[in-house]
Symmetry: C2
Subunit: 333 residues, 2 copies
């Protein structure tokens, strides 16, 4: 295992120390129970947004804490759900009197622990809602979850719901926006290599030098099929068509096209994939009106990528364009 | 060779098509001779800034084209200098009547081709200056160059000189700011793995599963020494001390600390490295007043990182903080 780490046991804690040192004016990092909150939390009179899940997907979620996006992130151990305790602590830390929305990727552990945390927060008088993200069209039921998995679409939900909360929407309205985005976003991913979880010390799965996994999950969970290495355009086509058929997206739709790197794939390759995805959408009469390209939801050092397509309308576009100031996504301030 | 590409011959051209499709309002991409310019170029009455070099270091340089930073970027083939022709084209495209500054990383081919291009542009009536970036303290004279190499400090020079040009400084002043930053910035890198140039098809160098290269160049050029894999903190110490001794940085200095990923190292590991670097600076009484963490100057999919330290003063800090709007670096607008 070749990693830039000290001790596998300390990876998350030391990375969080680095996050705190790198973004002092933006974030406050609490070591125990581990959570990251906006430096100005709680924002009185604003709905609080909390997300979280296993670590190893950076910048998700801590990189999206700040003005116009998340109020807090709860990082579990690598690829392992955080327990209810830090989720409750984060929920309390960001409660500005208007309630808190939990944005939860659909993995069994995450869903259970966020539910338990919501019950505990409610017992302390905080109203909590949850949206469960399940944008991955690759498989239904998987190693880690029942139903579809939540993957890169989570970033779009966090941004858009975050903008709704920032403009002053109440808990019902922010929840409805998050649910709407989840209903209109679809993703699918591909792995070229396997990630290595630090405390495991070995790759999460075996994959040949000439093989790729179509429909990979963000923890290395199996996808739809294992095929031989192909040209990038064919790989993009393999995952883009199931995405488009699923909603379905149709000619005349305006969309946000997001090509996400899984951690080990360089940006030059992500742009090659973006090119093909944009070409296919254009051929189908789908207008790409907003874009995002880069490493936003990763699987440690795994080489691979995912494509996410979100159907936009005027409101979602306006919320996407609204100012955001986080470590990993920033514009307008 | 496991890459998300179509044909090794088309990697740069197809990635540029992707860049054009991903950032239509921000950039204009000219396919032949290949260069990327601000969508609103030339900006009349503003000094133009042009950088460039071999591809494979994305987002450098195309990701830094836009308001407050570069006016144009000239991408050569992977790890190969662009010829004078596209550099001349870019220089002409961004000339707003106040002259053009070339920001050139110190590699023999880049320096020669930018010099030739400057002569050709001058013959067409455009005044051109150049700053040659040589921030890498690892080695003096190397595979690709005489003198020190230009590496991740280039991003800081492009940002700060770009802000000076944007506020209306004349060519002398912008050049002086760029030279000043180059004089106060120092970097050094480490590789855990080797990159594979697409048209070569094989890793650029051999490195054992338990070895790392201290002082690596951004094209896989040899560094100072090959050592066994060590804890992250020791690796950071190995490169940070030569950086600090070189300027030298001293107690009481304010600095920008930049931990740069080489492409294949995940963000969670970069934050662990940042943590150690920030700790060492604090111990030495050096104040980290600005920070940058992420993949900004890469070597394809190479696993590794570099540390860059820039001594700040009030003017450089103000220019760093000034609004910037590019694909890879954005704040304030």
């Amino acid at each position: 295992m070749k990693k830039l780490i000290n001790d596998p046991k300390n990876v998350v804690a030391e990375a969080l120390e680095g996050v705190a040192l790198a973004h002092p004016g933006l974030l406050t990092v609490v070591a125990d129970p581990a959570h990251i909150v906006r430096a100005d939390a709680p924002v009185q009179g604003k709905v609080g947004l909390v997300s979280g899940g296993g670590s190893g997907h950076e910048p998700l979620h801590g990189g999206f804490v700040g003005y116009g996006m998340l109020d807090a992130a709860v990082p579990g151990p690598v690829f392992t759900s955080p327990t209810p305790d830090p989720i409750v602590a984060a929920t309390k830390a960001v409660d500005g009197g208007k309630g808190v929305l939990h944005i939860v990727k659909n993995y069994t552990g995450d869903v259970l622990n966020f539910e338990t945390a919501a019950d505990l927060a409610l017992a302390e008088g905080i109203e909590v809602r949850a949206v469960v993200v399940d944008d991955d069209v690759a498989v239904k039921d998987s190693l880690y979850t029942a139903g579809r998995r939540g993957v890169a679409g989570t970033v779009l939900i966090e941004k858009i719901a975050g903008a709704a909360a920032q403009r002053g929407d109440d808990l019902d309205a922010v929840t409805a926006i998050a649910e709407k985005v989840n209903g209109q976003v679809r993703s699918m991913g591909v792995a070229l290599t396997a990630p290595t979880v630090p405390h495991a010390g070995e790759p999460s799965f075996d994959i040949g030098d000439d093989e790729i996994e179509i429909g990979i999950g963000i923890h290395g969970e199996p996808g739809r099929q294992r095929v031989g290495l192909e040209p990038a355009d064919q790989i993009v086509d393999r995952i883009l068509h199931p995405i488009l058929e699923d909603l379905p997206f149709a000619s005349g739709d305006k969309v946000l096209l997001f090509v996400n790197g899984m951690g080990g794939t360089p940006l030059i390759e992500l742009y090659i994939a973006f090119r093909r995805a944009a070409q296919v959408l254009a051929e189908q009469g789908i207008e790409v009106s907003r874009t995002l390209v880069g490493n936003y939801v990763t699987s440690l050092e795994m080489q691979g990528f995912s494509v996410t397509v979100l159907k936009l309308d005027d409101e979602l576009t306006e919320l996407w364009d609204a100012p955001v100031q986080t470590a990993a996504l920033r514009w307008g301030r």
